[in-house]
């Protein structure tokens, strides 16, 4: 049995972590009262946030698993303040983690754009890598592009620092790419959180289950070690008449991926896990489709989990050699940084105006 640590940081990370816990309970609103979490492994979840209200909003994560960084109520998307705050509280955070025992793998979930998540994740991953030898993977949620210049520049620096933190892989989920999941922003957020949660649980099951065709943590490490360090996850669910080939292709298509990517051109390595009743899982069809993917990207690990009576579901983990979308994001981020600089220079003019006003400091009007 694997020992898995999942850390959700900041509002986005907390919500995805809460969604993972909810799905582990079974997904029902009241399931936490009557059900046990169905993690295949020993899973410890920790939510970290500077905003207490974000922690209080969590419904399916136990209170003891929520760490509030005291005396702060959010960072206002300021990563400099956030990193300083982490440094001041890192001992407390790491002590909490160490008290939870040994782990085989860790996932750090956060947004790249916000305050706490984007500023805490890189140094935390660095600390984990320094202290422990288990792989640490980050799941990073990219912002809506129209959310603002600060979020864009935060994302750019966060991802850069994440790479520098020696993380074992960055799994990307892009709100901009997934925003058509729900009708409004809140529904979209909830839908994205649930999508990420379902994929993470499927992945954990794939890493720690008895399978007809086995994939394990080693395979996952190999996949995640490929490419440029970025990865994404795809998922698709078929019905009882959908050919398994189609389901596999759907999981690799934009409708199944968490991040915009042409996997056949940008992919480096992949792991495909199939789950369902044996009657839906034709080995020939599976092999045929996976061979097709292999012919484009190289090596593809595959695993098959038999679940009697279940319709076929496919999880695909793909590492990317290149990503045009990420390049686009950084282009926008550079523009955003320039815009912020211009704003800063305008602030300097305001300071000059302040200097003019200062000429009458200490004087009183005479009548």
């Amino acid at each position: 049995m694997l020992n898995v640590l999942i850390i959700g940081i900041g509002q986005c990370g907390n919500r995805i972590l809460d969604s993972i816990n909810k799905e582990a309970f079974g997904g029902g609103k009241l399931s936490k009262y009557y059900s046990r979490q169905k993690f295949p492994s020993r899973v410890e979840t920790i939510a970290i946030n500077t905003a207490i209200n974000d922690l209080k909003e969590m419904r399916y994560t136990k209170a003891k698993d929520r760490i509030h960084i005291p005396n702060l109520h959010g960072l206002g998307a300021n990563r400099i303040v956030g990193k300083q705050c982490f440094n001041e509280n890192s001992d407390m955070i790491m002590r909490n983690i160490s008290e939870r025992g040994e782990f085989d793998v860790a996932f750090v979930i956060s947004s790249s754009s916000g305050g706490t998540g984007s500023s805490f994740s890189p140094p935390l991953i660095k600390e984990l890598k320094n202290r422990y030898d288990f792989p640490v993977y980050s799941i990073v949620v990219l912002p809506f592009r129209e959310e603002g210049t600060i979020y864009l520049q935060n994302s750019a620096f966060c991802l850069k620092e994440m790479r520098e933190s020696e993380t074992d892989g960055i799994i990307l989920a892009d709100n901009q790419f997934l925003k058509n999941v729900g009708g409004n922003i809140q529904t979209a957020y909830d839908g994205i959180n649930k999508m990420v949660a379902e994929r993470v649980l499927f992945l954990l099951e794939a890493l720690d289950s008895e399978m007809m065709m086995v994939t394990d943590l080693g395979d996952f490490k190999t996949v995640m070690a490929g490419g440029a360090g970025f990865a994404t996850i795809g998922f698709a669910k078929g019905d009882n008449i959908t050919p398994i080939k189609t389901v596999i292709r759907d999981s690799l298509s934009p409708s199944g991926l968490l991040f915009s990517s042409n996997v056949y051109e940008e992919g480096s390595r992949a792991m495909i896990i199939l789950r369902g009743d044996r009657k839906y899982l034709s080995i020939d069809d599976i092999s045929s489709e996976i061979d097709k993917l292999s012919s484009h990207i190289g090596h593809v690990f595959k695993g098959v989990i038999i679940r009697n009576g279940e319709t076929p579901q496919v999880l695909s983990v793909l590492t990317l050699e290149t990503t045009a979308e990420l390049d686009n994001l950084y282009t926008l981020a550079v523009e955003a940084i320039h815009m912020e600089k211009e704003k800063r220079s305008r602030m300097a003019i305001r300071k000059e105006a302040d200097a003019i006003f200062s000429k009458i400091d200490g004087l009183e009007p005479e009548y």
């Binding site: 936490k32 009262y33 922690l55 969590m58 399916y60 994560t61 209170a63 003891k64 929520r66 509030h68």
Partner: protein, 416 residues
């Protein structure tokens, strides 16, 4: 009665004795002319010329002295002794005790005799010549009527009719004759009619009470009255002297004019005849003043059964010492009102609501009590639950408590 009769007999005896014996006085009657067959009465002695019989060229005289009895009979006391010589026969003497009557012939004809009568020991109250002899003489006695006046009711109200009966009996020793009755009307009463007025004008000695008069009067004034006595006026058989007797005066109380009073009628009705335990039943207390007079100081006390609880009632109902009470100062003439009272059944069984009413009807305090029809309180909707053993409840309760505890504990795990 017997005592009265004894007294009367004693008085009669004394009277007769006085008449017959008198004191030692003497009296003379001279030259009284008496025809044959006639006589002369002195008190109750009668001197009869029984016969003047021709004898040897002359006439022989027979004189008899009688004693008259109250009953109309008479007793021969003495008579002419025919064995005596003619000269000796000219005198007839009766002597008994101190009484002495002597008849002396002064002149005798074939038709009559002229005599001198000498008496001794007699106070002559009555003397007269009597035609027809002793059989025509009247006993000299005094009647004495005892008169009674009776009423058929002694407590009446104004306007009521009272029947008055007058009775009389003769307790004297002479016949009462020419009796007339004065009914003796009393102020405050009005004569209505005679029922019986043909009373006898004579009453014999010793007669029993005889109905003399019946008449009706109407009470016109209030108060307690002694009816004026009836008076009987009458005469004895030989004297024209008037006697009179008066009756008793019966007392009659006439109530004053009736005060206008009130009378409250009370009814209690329930809206149900059968309810379940825990359910409510509403009673309507209907009160009505049946009279034109006002009732005052009204108090109505519904007596709540032990197995019921008072829930609510009309605005007029006060709660005094945790009990519902209705208090009203006045119910006017013909006033009607309904009061509602709602009770809740606490126990199973038959029940009834008792309502006590107290009021002043104008003349005094009146108390009434009325009871509603009986109603039955059956098992409540959930009473069957109490019939199960305790563990039937304990187990689910424990389960519920355990679930609640679990939920609380679980929730607290997820609350920050």
């Amino acid at each position: 009665m017997k005592m009265n009769r004894t007294i009367i007999h004693t008085l009669s005896f004394l009277f007769i004795t006085i008449l017959s014996i008198g004191v030692t006085s003497a009296d003379n009657i001279h030259d009284e002319k008496i025809y044959e067959g006639d006589g002369y009465q002195i008190n109750n002695y009668f001197i009869e010329v029984s016969g003047i019989t021709p004898f040897e060229g002359g006439v022989i005289l027979d004189v008899t002295i009688y004693q008259l009895k109250p009953d109309g009979s008479y007793e021969k006391l003495t008579t002419t002794d025919s064995t005596k010589s003619e000269d000796k026969r000219k005198e007839v003497k009766y002597h008994s005790g101190s009484v002495e009557i002597t008849v002396n012939e002064k002149n005798l004809t074939s038709k009559y005799i002229i005599v001198d009568i000498t008496t001794a020991g007699i106070v002559i109250e009555y003397e007269t010549a009597v035609d027809g002899g002793v059989s025509q003489a009247n006993y000299i006695g005094e009647p004495s009527l005892t008169l009674t006046k009776e009423v058929d009711k002694s407590n009446v109200e104004i306007g009521d009719i009272i029947r008055v009966t007058i009775k009389a009996k003769n307790d004297g020793n002479g016949i009462a004759k020419r009796i007339s009755i004065d009914q003796g009307f009393t102020p405050g009463f009005t004569f209505k009619s005679n029922i019986y007025a043909t009373y006898p004008t004579e009453l014999d000695i010793g007669s029993s009470f005889t109905q003399m008069f019946i008449y009706e009067i109407e009470a016109t004034n209030s108060g307690t009255f002694s009816l004026s006595p009836a008076t009987a006026s009458y005469s004895s058989s030989v004297f024209d002297d008037d006697y009179s007797s008066t009756s008793n005066s019966p007392s009659v109380t006439v109530a004053g004019e009736a005060v206008e009073t009130s009378e409250i009628d009370i009814e209690v009705t329930a809206d149900k005849t059968k309810i379940k335990r825990g359910e409510k039943i509403t009673f309507t207390i209907h009160v009505e003043n049946l009279k034109d007079g006002p009732a005052s100081t009204i108090r109505i006390d519904p007596i709540i059964p032990m197995s019921m609880t008072y829930v609510s009632g009309s605005e007029d109902i006060d709660i005094i010492s945790e009990k519902p009470v209705i208090q009203e100062s006045v119910y006017g003439a013909r006033y009607e009102k309904d009061y509602k009272i709602t009770l809740k059944a606490d126990e199973i069984g038959y029940n009834e609501l008792i309502v006590k009413l107290t009021y002043n009807n104008g003349t005094g305090t009146v108390n009434k009590e009325i009871t509603s029809d009986s109603f039955y309180v059956g098992k409540g909707e959930f009473d069957f639950l109490a019939e199960y053993p305790l563990y039937i409840y304990v187990v689910p309760v424990l389960i519920i408590v355990a679930i609640a505890g679990w939920l609380y504990w679980r929730r607290s795990q997820f609350r920050m």
